[in-house]
Symmetry: C2
Subunit: 645 residues, 2 copies
Amino acid sequence: MIKISIGQYRSISEPYVTLFGSNNVEFELIQDQDELSVVINQQKLTQTKDIITSINQNFDNLFTNKVNIINQIPDVSEQIITAYDHILNGQIDEDSIKKINNYLSGQFLQSSSYLTVYDFLLHELAQTLSHLNRPLYEKFENIIEFISKFETTESIQPWIFNQTLFLKPFSKHVKNVYNEIEKIASKNLNTFADFANLENCSYHFKLQLKNGEEKVYTDHIPFSVSPILIQKKEFDEFYSKTQLWNELIDKMSKNFEWAKEIFKNMSDPLLQGFLKIAEKANKSEITQKIQMGLIRNDVLHSAVKHKWLQVEYNTISISFGYIAEQVQSLQRTIKNSYLKNFFEEYTGLQGSSVAVVVEGLKNAYDLYDKPNSQILVVVSGFEGNSYDQRYPEYLLARDHGIICKRRTFEQLIEQTEVKDDGTMLVEGDEIAVIYYRTGYSPDHFPNEEIWKIREKIELTKAIKCPSVNIILVGFKKLQKTLQEAGQMEQFLNKQQCEKIKENFATIYDFEDESKHEELLNLAKNEPQHYILKPQREGGDNNIYGKNIYPFLEKLTPSERKNYILMEKIIPKPSITFMIRNRKLEVAPSISELGIISYFISDSQKIIHNKAGGYLVRTKRYFDDEGGVNAGYSVIDGLMIKKQQD
Amino acid sequence: MIKISIGQYRSISEPYVTLFGSNNVEFELIQDQDELSVVINQQKLTQTKDIITSINQNFDNLFTNKVNIINQIPDVSEQIITAYDHILNGQIDEDSIKKINNYLSGQFLQSSSYLTVYDFLLHELAQTLSHLNRPLYEKFENIIEFISKFETTESIQPWIFNQTLFLKPFSKHVKNVYNEIEKIASKNLNTFADFANLENCSYHFKLQLKNGEEKVYTDHIPFSVSPILIQKKEFDEFYSKTQLWNELIDKMSKNFEWAKEIFKNMSDPLLQGFLKIAEKANKSEITQKIQMGLIRNDVLHSAVKHKWLQVEYNTISISFGYIAEQVQSLQRTIKNSYLKNFFEEYTGLQGSSVAVVVEGLKNAYDLYDKPNSQILVVVSGFEGNSYDQRYPEYLLARDHGIICKRRTFEQLIEQTEVKDDGTMLVEGDEIAVIYYRTGYSPDHFPNEEIWKIREKIELTKAIKCPSVNIILVGFKKLQKTLQEAGQMEQFLNKQQCEKIKENFATIYDFEDESKHEELLNLAKNEPQHYILKPQREGGDNNIYGKNIYPFLEKLTPSERKNYILMEKIIPKPSITFMIRNRKLEVAPSISELGIISYFISDSQKIIHNKAGGYLVRTKRYFDDEGGVNAGYSVIDGLMIKKQQD
């Protein structure tokens, strides 16, 4: 029987219940102490810090991420718990510290089973930190960074990250910010949700009524109550490279022979469809040479490398350019009223993402230069994200008098006329720009008729956002190829290449069949460090962790070539207050940042190239996927400290 | 058998079918002519104008508004139709004109039966006008005004006003604006409705789902595609009196003994409830003496008197302060894009109505002067108009950090605490201002408990918007009393009184029982000229036209005293393109204008007094009621010609 002092912490029983309970180990919780003062906490933390530092130095030896071998715990861990308990209870004796240090350095335990004690330590640390006031807390930033570097046992990690570990954005005036915010948010869920609707943070879905009728229902978008704090320097460091990235994407898109060569062993039918169209478009004299790219460059911040690493760049139908801004305005309103004094002064970041979308389309429209022509927005039948899609159209109408025509591929089959000179008419209206909000996934092309109309409109004089050449650049295989020696150097100079490469996470492909075994072993032995991605953009098609190996094993070597294996980026989690369907969830979470930008180029040069604004999607730390509409992510915002401006 | 040449007009058969068909008169339509040119139209119109002028001069003799005596028509009208047909067909012979003139001056027809020919004339005029281009049209403005002065037979009037009679706001560059706008609006209904949602022109209602669940559904508010043109001078003339009106309302609210005396014979239970509370509030030392009025002064433009006449002033829970502005922004966007070149340049009018609501509440809050106090918004359980109600709350939070607490009377029973000094707490939060969005109708007070809490919160130190004294001023009886000699003079000087009285429509009350018979006869003989109103604000409780007499007859003389009989204001109709539930309706319509303003006063003086913005509700010409949520009205906007600025 393990006896555990739950000390001064109200909820301390939870990790033990989780850890032992789920493994059928008998244990007993002893409640034996009142709340300690901050001074004692400080003493405790000083001790803990030394311990952690020593762990830190031995990190690679100590930590394997293996599944916890619970049957080795009872006999050894009890001594450690007692020793550690001494420290926590203020009985800071050399003997206890030595015991723990010995323990952690592997003297009492084989390296394969130390994880549980590690977890205890983390748990105590989390507890201690959550009771600290800010000045103390700041001293231990390195500890938090340390924690985010590793993955502990699956059973205890959720609990640890559910603690108030990550209060950095919050004000020193408030003692337990976490509980306060949770209380206020729970009490004002309807207000915050109504406010979200007022800021157009809304989306549509269909519901069946009692009378059999189908109605389009409106709900607020899932959002985070308060923005996450970031380092302006690190943000700027990546943000400033956006134009360079666009230059690279533009140049890649103009070298069709190069892309074709790289794709040559791939059988993906979507890719094949686009290659066929591109082949014709690049040969045609009529097809518009001016092209527009509306790009979202997605990055995650690596807690290990202290910089933003690229997850992917998106070259077609990027979402949330508008709502991303609206959520930031919503968060600021909540911060100015309901959460007054909870935050230190902060600012958001520069640039408007919806303005970039509108400016890009407007400039493309102007380059086409034909009065009363229209912008064709190619859409799927029912669009849930219509607030986000419609607002740029609204601004184009309001500020520039430009009319957008939303049509599905099916409608275009009937309504499109292309004149001999390539002029495209839809229902008699001349189309200046084609803006795709669909057409990037195999299910968008259910039959040959759709491929035919897709090809037909590509070969017109209308400016495409994006052109088929830009779409091809979005395939993962090219993203991977950029990492290979000599590839990127065809497009950029050495210095530029170095800049771009700074933000690369490692990507493997399956081009070389002799290396498949090595890659399969990686996926088998360290599944938690990898994500397997098909060629498509977006998250929903990825394969994670333990599912990677069995999936790869079933594929033929040739089929594997449609995939890339990518290093999983480990970010520092923060606590997020998420509101979905007017319900609150407080969870440890990580945030993916997408920098939004556009470029327009003709066959010779880039004419416009501008970054502006960003999208932040925050997902639960323990979810793999991150789609907002799929219910995983919430839309979030950023803040930087005032003095960092 | 009547033979009717339907001439060049595709839809000319309609009025004849209506007129004759509904009266079982045999007739035959003859289609005998191609479309005429504008030149011929012009000739025709010149003739028509002379005829109309002659009618105009004999208006009072000719026109009785009696119901059409159809059996007198066939034998006399055929000659006239033939004569008129000659003119229409370009055979402009003196003989035909003489015949019509003689006819119209009563030579051929008794005055009781001339109306049908009149109708034919109007119909032809409408047709001709609808084919005119603008310069021609402008010459005949007097004719349109003339038409709006009378009511023709009930059967033909709807058809007449369904013509493109009222194209003044539209551009001379477009020939048949009416058809064009209808075509564009029908084709872009979903776009316009989505745009409306993006501008927060939305409201909620409840739907039963298939699975039995109840969901709150969001739809766009009914709106008009394009604003209506008004005369700036006439608008300014009324708008400039808003502060004077507020002064009057404030002064009336401060003379409780005067109001009590006027109400003394009235049994209305809502009035009795408020009088009881006011009695206590006015005696109490603790009750807050600072009060806020948020007023909407509703007027209709009289086509006869060429000025805005007051319909009523609203002193509690005025709606659409926010959405009124949003619709104007929506209309401008549509005008700048989809209806480009359809309008001449115009501007909207000054002032923001939502800013007035927010500024008023903020100033009241500041006068209460207590950090972290809140504004209590008293609401009904489910609120369909929540976008409109919530936005001022959002602005208070965003721009001033002020938190609004929405509570129903039922919730307040549980959550309210009033300290001995009158301090009001709801769930422990101090209330600075009480803002009523409910509590103005008998069904808002279903039981004695609700009246109790209503009284309890009135007697607190919180500033009320409005105070019970201001609510009492909203009762129709006081509005009527102001028309009586010597009454208004108690509050304003002679010159001020004259200014206010300029915009009065005639109101009768039933105070003097000896005059009941006279009033009942009015209601019986000229029902179309009156509206019967109970004491409540808002339209839904009114009784119109032929229903007035039987209703009054059934009441006891004493019961009648709860009502006023008001002159019906006859405005000049315009054509409105209304969108409701994503469906278009084109209809002749009239617009009611509400000037929004607020004032704050203490026991001595007015501290703040400001007008800003307006609400325009446009309803079908042939509907009596005008509620937006009830499905009668649409929200509309105003425009004035650029050069009129």
